[in-house]
């Protein structure tokens, strides 16, 4: 009976959302020109009059060549990154905070002190391959977040990959235990760094999270102002945070 009602309700919900679909544009027909993202793509937000824009006077976005040129308001080739770390950087700060909050939460909830022992030897392949793979994984992670403004990826995936390396360590080595002090310090300092970037922006440009560095050539590694720096701090922070979570879960409480 319970299942029947569940199916009924779930079906009703699906039906409702299906009806709601009628209110949005059909799949694949999204009109970017009507949305704010058109100007994120064209990197011409500063040259648009917002008052006119919101009144329906949709100005034509710039369509000049971007890649390899200098002097744009945002220097990152990856537009998603430019949104995440520049246009909507505040969201990302929040995002970092969510992760931080959950890491803190996990720490408070689990509150472990000692490495949990499974009493089972990890198998040979795992142990040996870990030694080989670990540097590669970490390197790959670093690559991902350093090139966040150029290629798909960024601080979050990079950090996660680093944390995966730590997880691998935990799986392969019974004795391994993450140095919590280091990870917490890294986490805290990187988080603070992000906020400090923001505050520097506030001091330099009059707005919190203002991009206070030159943007450089779109497409080159040293470009896009603070974006790579922010992504690096995020990468390290997420890496240490998730490692910390992994470590917490592998710990047990006394008594």
């Amino acid at each position: 009976m319970r299942r029947f009602y569940a199916i009924l309700v779930a079906a009703g919900l699906v039906y409702m959302l299906f009806m709601f679909l009628g209110t949005i544009v059909p799949y694949g027909k999204a009109d970017v020109a009507d949305r704010v993202s058109a100007h994120f793509l064209a990197k011409d937000v500063n040259s648009i009059s917002p008052t006119k824009w919101v009144e329906g006077d949709k100005q034509v976005p710039h369509s000049e060549r971007v890649y390899g040129r200098k002097g744009f308001e945002d220097g990152s080739a990856n537009v998603v990154t430019s949104i995440v770390v520049n246009y909507r950087s505040f969201d990302t700060l929040g995002e970092v905070t969510v992760l931080f909050a959950s890491a803190v939460g996990v720490g408070l909830i689990l509150g472990g002190t000692r490495r949990m022992k499974y009493g089972r030897k990890p198998n040979f392949i795992l142990r040996v391959s870990t030694g080989i793979l670990l540097p590669l994984i970490i390197l790959f992670g670093i690559y991902i977040f350093v090139h966040g403004h150029l290629t798909p990826g960024g601080g979050f995936p990079g950090g996660t990959i680093i944390a995966a390396a730590v997880l691998l360590l935990y799986l392969s080595n019974e004795e391994f235990s993450l140095n919590m002090i280091v990870s917490k310090s890294l986490e805290g300092s990187m988080g603070s760094l992000y906020v400090i970037f923001g505050l520097i922006g506030l001091a330099a440009g009059g707005a919190f999270l203002f991009n206070f560095l030159p943007n450089g050539v779109v497409g080159s590694l040293f470009s896009a102002g603070v974006v790579p720096l922010v992504y690096m701090t995020i990468g390290l922070k997420v890496g240490s945070e998730l490692s910390g979570v992994v470590a917490e879960i592998h710990e047990e409480r006394e008594g």
Partner: protein
Amino acid sequence: MVYIISIILVGIGVYGLMTQKNLFKHLISLSIIDTAVNIFIVATGYVNGGKAPIYTKNFPSFAIGRFVDPLPQALVLTAIVIGVGTLAVGASLLVRVKEKHSSIDVENMKGVGE
């Protein structure tokens, strides 16, 4: 089509939440709903024939219809991380629930009175 799949995924998640007795399955169902919503969000930004919004040598300039909407993607990035955070906290809570109530099955939990 993607819309419908994501909606059905929401339905599945809700169904899972409503029928499952295992708390961890609740968490997974929640995760399914999250994912479904994320898929939905990304789908709303899709433009037929559009490319990933990254300037490369091949696509050095902007034109309407060339790139898909990057904003939903950026939002999804955030939403995913939030989902991860929720999952982590939920999982750790379940570890403690298991310790305290000796089960994570709703029907077998002890000491869950009021």
